[in-house]
């Protein structure tokens, strides 16, 4: 028998609220399967199980906030005998609803509904695919309030105890740890984006809109390929030493419209073609903003890329996301005079930066790594 514990979905997480079980007692589960949804500061996270087995018992009711490390389910390992009759097991009244799709709702809507004590299941969503939006919850809330006022003064609802820390707190904890523990060194390099832009314009002109690529994907792919060649930038600092990643999983910093950012991982980014990576990236951005990431995505990055996109400043000095050991930044591309073959030409340039952990690598090695990244970006046909 094994306990399944409330996982830590970030160095900063002390507790989580179980939103929903995706399995019921008696279900066979496989390693990597999503078994529960947990609400954290980073939104609702799909939590995966890390071993095969059979769900014996669910120990925590949805809506309960429990500390990290507390058992929330009991698992019978494969091959383990079913417990003999003895005391009759509690009848499985927990009605498994494997076919009922989970209620789709934005994290903000979920939070508001919880604060107002509104059952999401009872609402009709007006968002995409029937997702419940904050507005839907607000409407339900005011409808109920006006009814309640007609009947009796609305009782003041106490704030839910043990609310997860907000995303600001999550970022504060991770970044404070980075600046406290990681001796960063920084390198920067200008990259002529013209070849990449031309290649991209050709690709996009000859593909329907759904198959077009963004410059960010070329950058992610260049970092992934370089990281595969420079394993000392791809991994973690753990217990006083460097541990190489078990693949190249590129964390990508995604800003959330409600504020803050997350850096979920594009798994095995070095092994996917650009179109595959674009699809995965699009999916990841969508789910990050909808608050639907999995725990392994949130924690699985082996290196991170922070790209400022089209609107921003020309240079970023990124902070390493612990326990990783490197982060590559890309500023906003700028058009500048540039010397090409002895002549000055207007060119689109992007400033690539590297922040790396000096406990693991030195500037010389970092320069080779950053040169590899920028070299790949300047030969887009190699990506």
């Amino acid at each position: 028998m094994a306990d399944f514990l409330m996982p830590s979905l970030g160095a900063d997480m002390d507790e989580g609220t179980l939103v929903q079980w995706e399995v019921a007692p008696g279900d066979t589960v496989r390693r990597g399967q999503v078994v529960a949804v947990v609400e954290t500061a980073k939104g609702a996270i799909d939590v995966e199980i890390f071993r095969d087995g059979v769900v014996e018992e669910l120990l925590v009711e949805p809506g309960t906030t429990v500390p990290v490390g507390q058992p929330i389910a009991r698992l019978r390992e494969c091959g383990e005998a079913e417990p003999t009759p003895g005391p009759a097991p509690a009848p499985a009244t927990a009605t498994a609803e494997p076919d009922t799709a989970r209620v789709r709702a934005s994290p903000a809507a979920r939070r508001q509904a919880e604060a107002l004590g509104i059952d999401l299941e009872a609402l009709a969503g007006s968002g995409p695919d029937g997702a419940i939006t904050l507005e839907d919850v607000g409407r339900a809330g005011s409808a109920r309030e006006s009814m309640a006022e007609a009947v009796a003064p609305a009782p003041a609802k106490p704030a839910a105890p043990g609310r997860p820390v907000d995303i600001r707190g999550a970022i504060a904890a991770a970044m404070s740890r980075a600046k406290r523990e990681i001796p960063h060194y920084y390198l920067g390099h200008w990259v002529d984006l013209s070849p990449a832009n031309e290649w991209l314009a050709d690709w996009n002109a000859s593909h329907p809109v759904a198959e077009r690529l963004l410059p960010a994907v070329l950058m992610l792919r260049a970092v992934a390929l370089a990281a595969a060649r420079f394993p000392d930038f791809n991994g973690f600092w753990r217990d006083g030493k460097f541990v190489a990643g078990d693949g190249v999983h590129v964390g990508t910093a995604i800003s959330l419209r409600r504020g803050g950012l997350v850096a979920p991982a594009l798994k095995n980014a070095d092994r996917h073609s650009l179109p595959e990576l674009m699809d995965a990236f699009r999916d990841l951005v969508g789910r990050a903003r909808a608050g639907r990431l999995t725990g392994s995505e949130l924690l699985g990055g082996t290196i991170t890329v922070s790209s400022l996109g089209e609107q921003g400043v020309e240079e970023v000095y990124p902070v390493i996301y612990p326990p990783q050991v490197a982060i590559v930044g890309f500023g906003t591309p700028v058009e500048r005079p540039w010397v090409v073959g002895g002549r000055i030409e207007p060119r689109w340039l992007v400033r690539a930066t590297l922040a790396a952990d000096h406990r693991v690598s030195d500037g010389r090695r970092g320069a080779l790594f950053l040169e590899a990244v920028t070299g790949l970006l300047q030969e887009p046909e190699t990506l």
């Binding site: 997702a131 996009n204 002109a205 329907p208 409600r258 699009r282 996109g309 089209e310």
Partner: protein, 81 residues
Amino acid sequence: MKTDELERVMRTALAGVAPDLEFDELDPETPIRDQADFDSMDTLNFAIALSRALGIDIPESDYPHLASLAECRRYLAMRTG
């Protein structure tokens, strides 16, 4: 295509791309990205949703026409004739 029909398509497309943006709170003449956090991924997804809903291809060189809601409406009206 009728204006209210186009408006409905744009509303649905924007809600799919950025459910947390309020269509009615956006100033139609100002680029969306100057009013809200709307990046190149959002623009691309908006173009995909519009092209699917209307059955037209929107070349990358036309993306600037999607920047503000009013310009987008004019562009789509022209394209769907």
